[in-house]
């Protein structure tokens, strides 16, 4: 079966009216219209039952320990315990190994998708990645079949992941940040849309995702995002797997909604992403995804696990917006034009300012695409 899905303008236009998160301003006189988006997945790929929303749709297990992070130092023993308990809570298994065996087999090539884009202030904690590697090994996957990857090699470098992770695994930066081209990407698997008249209208899927790994463990961080509202499981997967994605936001407008969701529907990404482990050791409530301003980074020591990225991100979104309210910052849903600034320095140091009209509705939109449950009232949010 040809898994190519083809979303025409009329279809998306109809859908957009139904998606509660789609920015009303995008239907205004001055905002550009939502373009047609084509999703070209891998032809003939057989979808997996483990694919998003996975084995436990709507279930999000959250656990926290304030001692898990102290003055930016993450405790290896505590995150080990938290991850073990969370995985057992998610699956009902009696041991960590049994829990991980629900998702990974010894024959798998496991890709661990980190989020180093806020390194060093807020990125996937190497301590959590170490625990995930150990857990995957415990199931019988040899280290040579475990790889840790992200889009930009220089961001991985800034996070010093190379030095901090165990020997024997592979660490893959899909591309050098400042060198363009399609090396490392599959030119036959792509999402196509013209958002702002850009000359390259396609975003290609990374070869490491399409061809090398058989399972993906996704490790997003808890961060607000100037364009998409928050960056969580969905955005970490979509914008870390496809190239040429910065073109979706041109201040003050952003088409991260709905592109993020569409990208996550593309096979084989959808089938391979079997588990999401959200690193909430740090929580960026303003300035994401790249801020280094510690004033906007709390350290709650949270870990969440889910197979449903929509449910996970819905919980994250509520937490970030709650934190912003506590801090007196406007909601990520706010649409006050006076809060928009072209000054990145002002944005990075003033929680009342932003570069874009944020698009947190991308999460609900992804739910409409079948990737998970986006209604907080229907989410089985278990706090251990």
């Amino acid at each position: 079966m040809d898994r190519r899905s083809f979303v025409k303008a009329g279809c998306l236009g109809s859908a957009s009216l139904l998606l509660p998160g789609l920015d009303p301003m995008l239907r205004g006189e001055t905002a550009p219209a939502v373009p047609a988006i084509e999703v070209h997945g891998m032809p003939g790929y057989q979808p997996s039952p483990l694919g998003m929303p996975g084995l436990f749709p709507g279930r999000v297990v959250e656990i926290r320990d304030p001692k898990a992070i102290v003055r930016n130092r993450v405790s290896q023993p505590i995150v080990s315990r938290l991850l073990d308990q969370a995985m057992k809570g998610l699956t009902g298994a009696t041991s960590g190994r049994e829990a991980w065996a629900s998702f990974v087999e010894p024959k798998d090539v496991v890709g661990i998708k980190i989020n180093p884009s806020g390194a060093p202030a807020c990125c996937s904690s190497p301590e959590i990645i170490r625990e995930i590697i150990a857990a995957v090994e415990s199931v019988g996957v040899p280290r040579r079949n475990i790889l840790v990857y992200d889009r930009y090699s220089y961001e991985i470098d800034t996070g010093s992941y190379q030095a901090l992770l165990p020997t024997g695994i592979r660490i893959v930066g899909i591309q050098d940040a400042f060198v363009s081209g399609s090396a490392g990407y599959e030119t036959g698997i792509y999402c196509e849309a013209s958002f702002f008249g850009e000359w390259e209208t396609r975003s290609y899927m990374a070869t490491v995702v399409a061809q090398e790994v058989t399972k993906i463990i996704n490790v997003p961080t808890m961060k607000d995002h100037s364009a998409s509202g928050v960056t969580g499981a969905l955005k970490n997967l979509a914008y870390g797997t496809f190239n040429n994605v910065a073109r979706t936001h041109l201040a003050p407008y952003s088409f991260t909604n709905p592109l993020i969701g569409f990208m996550c529907t593309a096979e084989p990404l959808r089938s391979k992403a079997v588990l999401h482990v959200m690193d909430g050791m740090r929580q960026v409530w303003h300035g994401g995804p790249l801020t280094q301003v510690q004033e906007f980074i709390d350290q709650p020591g949270i870990l969440m696990v889910s197979t449903d990225p929509v449910a996970m991100d819905t919980v994250e979104l509520a937490a970030i917006d709650k934190k912003r309210a506590e801090k007196g910052a406007p909601s990520v849903w706010a649409r006050d034009p006076s809060s928009i600034t072209p000054d990145t320095n002002a944005f990075f140091h003033d929680a009342g300012k932003n570069l874009f009209f944020r698009q947190p509705g991308h999460i609900a939109a992804a739910g409409k695409l079948g990737l998970g449950i986006g209604d907080l009232n229907q989410i089985d949010h278990r706090v251990l």
Partner: protein, 349 residues
């Protein structure tokens, strides 16, 4: 002006990372005034390593796997060598050989006159650190967790020693001892003749920084946020200082001055012997590259090229080059040579 006496052996040459095999970051009386113009610009693939300079020739490795020899005066390419995989490693020069590590797990020796390969030595994983050369022996670490010693002339293995974690730290070689940091968080001292571990001092997290050694003290940063000064003979902690985040930057030492950057965005200056903090200055959002010490200025690449007064830490000037820099500048012959992640190499005067 820098208060400590300069100890450099050379005014013009800069044959390895941080100027010499002691990783002292220059020390020489290289002029480091604000550059007024670019003498030339050379385009290659993304550069994460640092250029080196010997006898008027600049040698640069790139992540596209190409090693360039460039005439420093003109920016004209003399030759290039195509490695089979990306090169993150800063080249080291010794005699007529250039040594560099490659992502394919091999250390290459090439002839610096012709660019022809002389030999290659294998490890089991990528080699990002630079090689240290002393008394005809090349020392290098690999991500396979092993520190290797090879004959500089033939590449044959003298010894190899498995350490506890991935090695991205560039070793420092003295007459009897070689020092390196490891991803297991331990600073190791090995015997140069056998590779036997003499001592290992644990820190609180992995090590991405490279050691500098001066006056019997090993200085190195750790991802546990601390700068460590260790007794070179025993590994005993002489002093340590906490910064705000992890340290990937490698220290530079000149006389009694130690300079090291932290990912918290600050550059720190200490007394080598006492550990007293002389000053700290915020130079950018994140500092991961080593600083170099010239006469009258300390230079570091952090969101551009930044120069600071050695005595006070006051920022003297910044040069924004319109490109991300993750390299280490070379201060030599009245020029500053820098390379960028976007693939440009500049000669600034």
């Amino acid at each position: 002006m820098i208060s400590e006496p300069a100890e450099s052996k050379s005014l013009r040459n800069w044959p390895t990372l941080l100027g010499d095999n002691a990783r002292t970051g220059g020390q020489g009386p290289h002029p480091a005034r604000s550059p007024e113009k670019a003498l030339w610009q050379f385009r290659t693939g993304a550069v994460r390593s640092a250029p080196v300079l010997v006898d008027g020739m600049l040698y640069v490795t790139s992540m596209s796997g190409v090693v360039h020899a460039i005439v420093a005066a003109t920016g004209v390419a003399a030759w290039k060598f195509d490695a089979p995989d990306p090169v993150h490693s800063t080249p080291s020069l010794f005699g007529n050989s250039i040594f560099f590590g490659c992502d394919n797990g091999k250390l290459y020796s090439i002839d610096r006159s012709s660019g022809k390969k002389l030999w290659e030595a294998s490890s089991q994983d990528e080699i990002w650190g630079s090689a240290a050369v002393r008394d005809g022996v090349v020392y290098f670490g690999s991500a396979d967790g092993t520190l290797y010693a090879a004959d500089a002339g033939t590449g044959s293995t003298r010894w190899s020693q498995r350490l506890g974690g991935r090695i991205y730290s560039t070793p420092h070689a003295e007459e009897r001892h070689v020092y390196a940091g490891s991803g297991d968080g331990t600073v190791y001292c090995l015997a140069t003749d056998s590779g036997k571990i003499v001592w290992g001092t644990p820190t609180g997290n992995g090590i991405d920084s490279s050691p500098a050694v001066a006056d019997g003290i090993v200085v190195i940063g750790s991802e546990d946020f601390f700068v460590y000064a260790l007794d070179a003979d025993t590994g005993e902690v002489r002093w340590k200082h906490e910064t705000g985040l992890g340290i990937a930057s490698s220290p530079a030492v000149s006389g009694n001055l130690v300079v090291v950057g932290s990912k918290d965005g600050f550059l720190y200056a200490f007394d080598l012997r006492s550990g007293r903090l002389r000053w700290k200055t915020e130079v950018g959002e994140v500092v991961t590259t080593p600083a170099v010490i010239g006469q009258g200025a300390i230079c570091i690449q952090s969101g551009g090229l930044v120069a600071l007064a050695p005595g006070s830490g006051k920022i003297l000037w910044r040069a924004g080059l319109g490109a991300a820099l993750q390299s280490v500048p070379v201060l030599a012959g009245g020029c500053i040579y820098v390379a960028s992640l976007s693939g440009e190499i500049y000669a600034l005067r």
